[in-house]
Amino acid sequence: MLSTLERLEQTEIKPTRKPKRIPSYSLGNLDAVDSNRVKLQPKDYSLGEDKIDRALLVPAEDDEKNMTNWNFDFPAITDIEKSRLMWWMLEDLNLMMEFSISETTLCEFINQMRTGYMRYKNPFHNYNHALTGKLSFLTQ
């Protein structure tokens, strides 16, 4: 004859409900993912170069024509050109003069933004994405 304590110990506790299934994300080999990511990258973005300076803030003749042209090839131009177009959009809407933004401050802001976009070498959410978004959401 078993004592009460022993009987309790032998009793198998069955769960009344099925345990809730917790979704698990199996990642597999993380190194493989990273190597695939590098392969997707079409070009190597070098940091620290292509910084814009206030001396480069000179509007070009074709700016207005290019910025309203739906077929203009933005990925083909250099990063300095992209940064300059960022400045040009503010200049064209008279926002630089209205809020008396100094060119040095704006250049620093633009360089910081470019560094942020280049940091993770994202194939899609990169500087082209920022430029086309600022230009027109429709071409994003």
Binding site: L27, L95, Y120, H125, A130, S136
Partner: protein, 62 residues
């Protein structure tokens, strides 16, 4: 955004402060984007996922 303001003509309806805000928001909307999904951030226990308690990590960050 520039095209909407300048060519389509929304600049007449918005004050210059709102125009500046719209342009800067469009410029910086995806800065520091990792290019990874929410599930990836949570599963890899990245600093972002820890900071935002695994809830809509990407959406909270940007």
């Amino acid at each position: 955004m520039y095209y909407m303001l300048k060519v389509v003509g929304y600049a007449e309806n918005f004050s210059s402060l709102i125009q500046l805000g719209l342009l800067i928001a469009a410029y910086s909307h995806d800065v520091d984007h990792r290019g990874r999904t929410n599930a990836f951030e949570v599963a890899s226990k990245s600093s972002l996922a820890i900071f935002y308690h695994d809830k809509s990590v990407i959406t909270h960050f940007f």
